[in-house]
């Protein structure tokens, strides 16, 4: 399972999101790997913004890693919460660069599933493409 290279965990059936009338997540947001609860229903708002996230699965010993570059992709749709304690379970990485922390699953540590800039204390983003949903 862990041998997939540069491939995101994705399965069509439970990765389509549904919105409530006021633009919140209609379903619970869970880890795509271990189904750990990340956000309860109706706690996050759907936003469009472009953010680069490193891939969750990265081949070891790639030439890119040697050159210090991180393989990743530009993502444009996120679930946003404005308080970190809205999360049911989540992990924060140490700060990268001057102000970025990546979010990961608290249980299995898959990630990055999201992004936070410590200069903006009210924006915590979870990439819609990197999570699953559950009722």
């Amino acid at each position: 399972m862990a041998t997939n290279d540069n491939q995101e965990v994705q399965s069509a059936s439970d990765s389509n999101h549904q919105l409530t009338a006021d633009g919140k997540n209609a379903q619970m947001i869970i880890c795509p790997n271990c189904r750990c609860k990340i956000l309860l229903k109706k706690t996050a708002e759907l936003v469009n913004t472009d953010i680069f996230l490193p891939y969750m699965r990265v081949k070891k010993n790639t030439s890119n890693q040697e050159s210090g570059q991180v393989d990743g992709e530009q993502l444009s749709q996120f679930w946003k919460v404005d308080n970190m304690f809205t999360f049911e379970n989540v992990g924060f990485t140490k700060t990268v660069g001057s102000s970025i922390k990546y979010l990961i699953c608290a249980d299995c540590e898959i990630g990055p599933i999201g992004w936070h800039d410590i200069n903006d204390k009210t924006t915590f983003l979870i990439a819609t493409q990197r999570i699953h949903y559950s009722d």
């Binding site: 924060f92 990546y102 990961i104 540590e109």
Partner: protein, 216 residues
């Protein structure tokens, strides 16, 4: 906006280098995922939600580095902490002896009412044990704190230990709340209880440049 939880507890893991703090906190789960990117950066803290007596409790759990040079880090380390897990390695007697040093450090720099618990980690390594359960229990009794043996490797007692610590913090808080209510007439209890920010915390700002990031 209405808060979605009843309590918020900040917890710290401290203890000598190599006793297994990072493992205790960061590997609760069997199907741990192996991302080179994430393990290269390292993890700062985790938020976990638990339920106790029908109340929703958010735990913010911080890992710390046990290396000698970090011990000089004082107040900033402990700022706002309401619970501290003191971890030693049952196969390393020195790490057990040093629990006393860590407690002294806590007494000096953390809030005086911080809840403590001692963990004897690596209890799966039976053949290299250097610290008996009885020794550890005795030390814990001396300080009036709870003790548990854990194994981050097989998960033994790990979640239970966090539940125990959270329960004790909650009990202490509820007791204080009760006292306040009894003394101060009728008022509704606040929805969220955040740790006491005693006078000791004032020095904390001076130490803000401390970085958690130098470990991995």
């Amino acid at each position: 906006m209405a808060k979605s939880y009843d309590y918020l507890f900040k917890l710290l893991l401290i203890g000598d280098s190599g006793v297994g703090k990072t493992c205790v906190l960061f590997r609760f789960s069997e199907d741990a995922f192996n991302s080179t990117f994430i393990s290269t950066i390292g993890i700062d803290f985790k938020i976990r939600t638990i339920e106790l007596d029908g109340k929703k409790i958010k735990l913010q759990i911080w890992d710390t580095a046990g290396q000698e040079r970090f011990r000089t880090i004082t107040t900033a380390y402990y700022r706002g902490a309401m619970g501290i897990m003191l971890v030693f390695d049952i196969t390393n007697e020195r790490s057990f002896e040093n629990i006393k040093t860590w407690i002294r450090n806590i007494e000096e720099h953390a809030a005086s009412d911080v809840e403590k618990m001692i963990l004897g980690n690596k209890c799966d390594v039976v053949d290299k044990r250097q610290v008996s359960k009885e020794q550890a229990q005795q030390l814990a009794a001396e300080y009036g704190v709870k003790f548990s043996e854990t194994s981050a490797k097989d998960g033994h007692n790990v979640e239970e230990a966090f539940m125990t610590l959270a329960k004790d913090i909650k009990a202490k808080m509820d007791r204080k709340q009760q006292e306040n209510n009894n003394g101060g007439g009728s008022h509704s209890s606040p929805n969220v209880h955040v740790g006491s920010q005693g006078g000791k915390d004032k020095k904390a700002n001076a130490n803000r440049s401390f970085s958690w990031c130098t470990l991995l």
